[in-house]
């Protein structure tokens, strides 16, 4: 079964900005994320993982008059939770997805303390249709 693990940030997540971390904190965090990906590949569970560019470059697009795209700034990082990256894993079931999400959530942050950041787990609708 495929799951998408979404890593989100926002003002209410209460996580200290990376700008306040020491070089050692950053190194530990980066290495942790590399290990996560390597572990998923080695376990045969890795499908995809992507980081997204910062939300200040995000744009909201709606079709306007005659289908012409109307582009506006946003979502604004100070007002909303925003997606910073995601993993897609192919694993046994929801318990394993929760286990992986829990592990990622505890990635080291400021002073090497676990971030305990929120990871949203969503099932990808990729199952075979059942006979009804």
């Amino acid at each position: 079964m495929k799951y998408m693990l979404l890593m989100q940030f926002g003002p209410q997540s209460g996580i200290a900005s990376v700008d306040t971390w020491s070089p050692e904190d950053i190194k530990a965090h980066v290495e942790f994320m590399h290990d996560v990906n390597r572990g998923l590949v080695e376990a045969g569970e890795f499908v995809d993982a992507q980081g997204l560019a910062m939300p200040d470059q995000a744009r909201i697009v709606r079709a306007g008059e005659g289908g012409v795209p109307v582009v506006t700034d946003g979502p604004f990082p100070e007002t909303k939770e925003f997606l910073v990256g995601y993993w897609i894993v192919d694993c046994e079931g929801p318990e394993r997805a929760y286990e992986l999400a829990g592990h990622i959530s505890a990635a080291p942050g400021l002073n090497g303390e676990p971030l305990n950041m929120p990871i949203e787990v969503r099932q990808v609708m990729a199952g075979p249709p059942q006979e009804l």
Binding site: D19, E31, G51, A53, Q57
Partner: protein, 416 residues
């Protein structure tokens, strides 16, 4: 199977454009010929490792691809009959096209024609790259898809649409006319350069499944240089690739984090590639007026010649960037010249040259922030440097580069 035989892949891939050439002249349909050769390559990859390489690999491929092509034509004809449509054209009739018997067409010419066709300016860079890697490089659609991290079906469609576009634009399958040859060669060089850069920068995602695009670009540039030994820019491009790729082993640390030129372990550089690139460049420069690829190769050579970062001949690099800027003005060249100026005349001179770039196409570009951060750091303006490193980190599209920039900012901030 004789294990001392070359790897099936290495043997196959240079044959791909030659076989497409034979089939295109025999059947008169480049798009279908290219598809049939792809099928034949997949057959070969499946059969040769187990059954051994045939005595005449090219003949084998021509035979299998022709059979594939005839099956395809028959299948199409049968389908048309079923649909009670009169076949408006008989593809078999093309076999008598005059080009089929031209004896002077050699394998090398076919490879060159294929390069000109696949890198046609009517194509977008992304589709030209895909078509070149398949039709000339002999890579499979799956391999190309993996290299660009898109599904195989997407890549297959991109290649198919590229061929439709070539057909629609009515470009004949032959060498471009002398008067347009220069412009067409420029787009071939550009596409090969883009393939090399894609592999060299390896910017996308985690880089877990990337095939060696740089190595493939070097192989293609080597082929082009062999086919056009008198062309100085073809030699210059190959030299540029070799002299740049030579630094690859030292370019990244653990986890793919980039190591700046000044901090690289130069003992890891590939001396053989540097020697080959330098020899190519020297020979090309001796033949007359240098073009942009030769100048860029010369800059890479100056870096490669320095035993330590401190010994780098920056005045020469600055002069070369000045030359390049006059020859082909482009903001990225101006940015590099500003960095070289800082190394020669001090950071203030470099920062002054960067200033006007902030109003141009590089405004807000991560490379501009990175360059300015380095120069501000040199100038001792740590607070401003940290700010620019962070701005660059927020704008780059490469994860390893972002990690490097955040780390650099944190190290500087910690020193304050």
């Amino acid at each position: 199977m004789n294990i001392s035989q070359p790897h099936a892949d290495d043997l196959l891939r240079p044959l791909a454009p030659q076989v497409v050439g034979v089939l295109t002249r025999r059947f008169g349909d480049f798009g279908a010929a290219e598809d049939a050769v792809q099928e034949a390559l997949l057959d070969a990859l499946a059969q040769w490792p187990a059954e051994g390489v045939p005595d005449n690999p090219k003949g084998w491929l021509v035979q299998v691809a022709s059979r594939r092509m005839i099956e395809q034509v028959r299948g199409e004809q049968a389908r048309r009959r079923r649909e009670e449509l009169v076949a408006a054209r008989a593809p078999a009739g093309h076999s008598t096209s005059p080009a089929a018997d031209r004896a002077h067409e050699t394998d090398g010419d076919d490879t060159l024609v294929m390069l000109f066709l696949s890198c046609h300016p009517a194509l977008t860079p992304a589709s030209a790259i895909a078509l070149t890697l398949r039709a000339v490089g002999g890579l499979t659609t799956a391999e190309i898809g993996k290299a660009f991290m898109v599904p195989e079906a997407t890549m297959a469609q991109r290649i198919s649409r590229a061929k439709q576009r070539i057909r629609a634009s009515g470009v004949p399958f032959r060498m471009p006319e002398p008067q347009e040859r220069r412009a067409r060669l420029a787009s071939v060089l550009h596409v090969l350069y883009l393939i090399f850069n894609e592999g060299y920068a390896a910017s996308g995602g985690l880089g877990l499944h990337r095939v060696e695009l740089s190595r493939e670009a070097i192989r293609l540039a080597r082929t082009l240089h062999r086919l056009l030994p008198g062309d100085c820019e073809a030699a210059g491009l190959l030299a540029l690739m070799l002299l740049t790729d030579a630094r690859r082993p030292a370019r990244t640390g653990p986890g793919g984090v980039p190591v700046p030129l000044a901090e690289q372990d130069r003992s890891l550089w590939d001396r053989e590639a540097i020697a080959e690139g330098t020899a190519l460049l020297t020979a090309a420069l001796r033949r007359g007026a240098a073009g942009p690829y030769q100048i860029q190769a010369a800059i890479a050579a100056v870096h490669d010649e320095a035993a330590t970062a401190e010994e780098t001949d920056w005045p020469q690099i600055l002069a070369l960037y000045g030359l390049l800027e006059r020859m082909s003005p482009n903001p990225m060249v101006s940015l590099n010249r500003a960095v070289a100026a800082a190394m020669v005349h001090g950071p203030a001179a470099g920062l002054a040259l960067l200033e006007p770039l902030a109003d141009g196409p590089l405004a807000g570009h991560h490379r501009l922030h990175t360059a300015r951060a380095h120069l501000l750091e040199m100038a001792g303006d740590i607070a401003a440097a940290v700010e620019d490193y962070r701005a660059a980190a927020g704008r780059t599209a490469a994860v390893p580069e972002r990690d490097y920039l955040i780390m650099r900012a944190a190290r500087l901030a910690a020193r304050r």
